[in-house]
Symmetry: C2
Subunit: 419 residues, 2 copies
Amino acid sequence: MAEPSSRPRHIVLTSHPSPHGAQTQPIRWGSLDPLQRGPVVGTLTNPAHRNVIGTHAGAYALYRALAVASGSLQPDHRADLTNTAPVVSIGPYASWGDADRIVSLDPWGAIVGEVFAPFYAQGYDIRPTIAITRAHINMPELQEAVSKGRLQVDGRILKDNGDLVVTKAAIEPVWYLPGIAKRLQVSESLLRRTLFEQTGGMFPELVTRSDLSVFLPPIGGQTVYIVGQVAAITDPALPLAVRVHDECNGSDVFGSDICTCRPYLVHGIEECIRTAQAGGAGVIVYLRKEGRALGEVTKFLVYNARKRQEGGDRADAYFARTECVAGVQDMRFQELMPDVLHWLGITRIDRLISMSDLKYRAITSSGIEVIQRVPIPEDLIPADARVEIEAKKAAGYYTEGEVPDAERLAQTQGRAWVE
Amino acid sequence: MAEPSSRPRHIVLTSHPSPHGAQTQPIRWGSLDPLQRGPVVGTLTNPAHRNVIGTHAGAYALYRALAVASGSLQPDHRADLTNTAPVVSIGPYASWGDADRIVSLDPWGAIVGEVFAPFYAQGYDIRPTIAITRAHINMPELQEAVSKGRLQVDGRILKDNGDLVVTKAAIEPVWYLPGIAKRLQVSESLLRRTLFEQTGGMFPELVTRSDLSVFLPPIGGQTVYIVGQVAAITDPALPLAVRVHDECNGSDVFGSDICTCRPYLVHGIEECIRTAQAGGAGVIVYLRKEGRALGEVTKFLVYNARKRQEGGDRADAYFARTECVAGVQDMRFQELMPDVLHWLGITRIDRLISMSDLKYRAITSSGIEVIQRVPIPEDLIPADARVEIEAKKAAGYYTEGEVPDAERLAQTQGRAWVE
C-alpha cells in the first residue's frame, strides 16, 4: 500500500521530562503579563517546544491525524496566520490575571500573534485557540419577530432583510488542571488519575507528567455570538443580556418539539437584539455539550425510556429516566461555564436569559452579579416540552409562576406513543 | 479537599494482553452472526471484559470522567436499559456481514440488548452505540414551504401544524482499524502510529495492542433522520431521497449567510418529505464534522483571511485560504461516510441531495447506485455564499448549469468588509 515517505523513528510511548534538564517554556497560569504567562504550545511540529498534554482542535485532532496518515497533510505544516487576527479587540481584563477565575480556556488564545511575537521569532509554532470574526446571520424566527412587531429593524444591528450583524468567537478548550481540580473541589492528582482511567487510558501523561499543568482535551468547545458593540459588554453604564446555551442538535437544528432549546435560544437572541438596540450588548454562548454532555445516544435511549415507561412520559419521572440510563441527571459541569464570561470581562448581567438554577449559581458564585432572570415566554413552549419544563421548575429552575407540586407533576404528560 | 472514597490501587499506564493467556471475547468484525462477531465492550466497569481501545460516548467520555472524579457518578454504574430498545427494526442486512463495507460504526450497536443476551447473562456490560427513537420536528422553513405550496400537509407524515414525523438514530463512532486503514489505503501500523503520534500521544494502546482491532475514538458521531416508512428505504420498488450533511453550526443553527448549509439541509428535508409522501422514504444524515472537520476555530480564522485578503473575498481564492491556515482544503474523509448508508441497507439512491463530488464518489465507489443528483435551488443561495458555491462548482461540484471559468471566479465576490 502507498505510504507517505517516513524515516524509521523510535516511537515514544509516554513522554517524560527531558533527562538533560532542558526546559520548555513554562506556563505560569494567571499571569497578566502574557510573556510571563507564556504561550500554550500544543502543536506537534517541534516536540521540544510542547508544554501541554494533548493537541489542538479538540476532538478534530483525530481527523488531523487521519489526514497525516493518508498523506494529504504534512505533519510539519505550520499555519499561515496572515489576516486571521481578531476583528475586534477583547481584553485583557483583570480576570485574565486571576488563575482561579478562568481555568478552561486560554484568555490569550485569540491574540497569540500579537502578544507572543518574541516566541514566534524564536521559531515557536503557537496556534490560536480562539478566533474572532464577524457575520450576518438570518433566522426565520427573527424575521417573524419583525413582522409581528416584537423586533424593530434599525438598519445597523438588524437589517431590513432580517439580517442580524454579529461578532462571533470560536473557543477551543484549554484546561489548567490545578484550576479545574479546585473548581470541582477534588485534588489535582485524583482529577488526573480519573481523567486517565475513566477515558480508557487516554493520555498517560495526565498521570506521568505532573510538570505539565495544561491539558488540551479532545472535546467540543464553545462559540460566542455578540450583538451590539463589544465595548458595551464591559461598560457599567450600559445594559447587558446574556444567554448561555448548551447544544441540543435535535432542537437547535431540527426543531424537535420535546424540549425548549431552540425556542429559548431564539428568545435569547431577541433579548440580545433589544438590549443592543437600547445601546447595550447581548451575548449568546453556545456550548458543545449535547444531551447534558451525555451525548446523543444516551439522550435518545432516555427518550425511549420516558415514552415507554408505565404511565407514559410525565414530569414526575423526567429526571429519574436519565439517571437510570446515565447514572447521573446531568454532566455539564456548569462550574466551568462562567470562564467565558470572565474572558469577556463581564462583571454584571442585567438580563440572564436562562431559568437554570445550576447556571445561575455557577455565574453568581464566580463573582458576576445577575440583576434579572428571564424565563422562556409560555407561548414559546412546545406542547410536548411541558414535561421537561415542569420537571425542571419543580427541581429548582427559576420561574415567575407557580412551582408545580407532586400532583401537577404527575399530571403533566407528554405525547402518548403508539408503537 | 473532599474526595470520593477510593482504595489505593496500582495505576496501569498501558494495558497489555493478559500474561496468563486469558482471552477477552474477541471481535470478529464482519461476521453476520452476532454471537460469532462478538459484542463491542468499551465500558470500564469490568476491565477484564474490555476488547477495544478507548471508551463509549465519543468525546463525552471526558465529561463522564469529570463526573466520576467529582464523586457524582459511581465508576461501576451500569446503565439500566429498560425500555430503551429501538422503536423500529433496522437490519441486519448483507452489508453487516461484510468487513469492508462498514468500518466506522458497529452495525449491531442498536440491538445489543437483543443479540448479545447470552453475554449479558454472563455479566458483560455492553452499551448500545446506536439509539433509535422517534420525534416530531418543526422547522419554520417547512411551515413556509407549506404556505407557499411547495409542500402539502398529509396529516400523517407532515401534520397541519407543520410538525414532521421522523424516526431518528444517534450513532457513536466505532472504528475497525484494519478496515479504516484499508479505506484510506495505508497500512494499519502506519494508521495506528499516526493516530497516536498526531494526537499528542492519545492511547498508547493504538501502538502497543495490535491484538485489539476496534477503537472508540473521542470524536463526534452522526444522527440519521428518516422520513416515511423505514421499510421503504430498502424496497427496490420505492423511491429514496438522501442528503448527507456535514455539521455547520454557524449556518445550521444561527443562519450565517456565508454558506449554503442550512438552506441546503432544509431543501434536503423538503425532498425527503415529498419522496416519503410519494410512498418512498427520505434519509438525512447529519455528521459532526464542523468546518470540514477542521473545527470552528480554524473556520473563523479562514473567514477573516478570506475577507481581508487583497481583492477581498472571492471565489478564485476560496480554497487557497483554507489550505494556508489548515494545510489541507478538507479533512472530512468522505471515504468513511457511506458506512451509515450501508448500515441502513441502502443499495440505490434515487435522489442524492448533494452537489459534492467527494460525497458522490465515496457513495458510488462503495457500491451504491445514484440515479440523480439534486443541486441546491438557485434562489436558496444567500448572496454572500456565492463565493463558496462558485468555487465549489469550479472544483468539481455537480451543477446543471455552467461551470464557472477563471474570469467568473475572480469576479464572484463576497460582501466587502469594513474593519
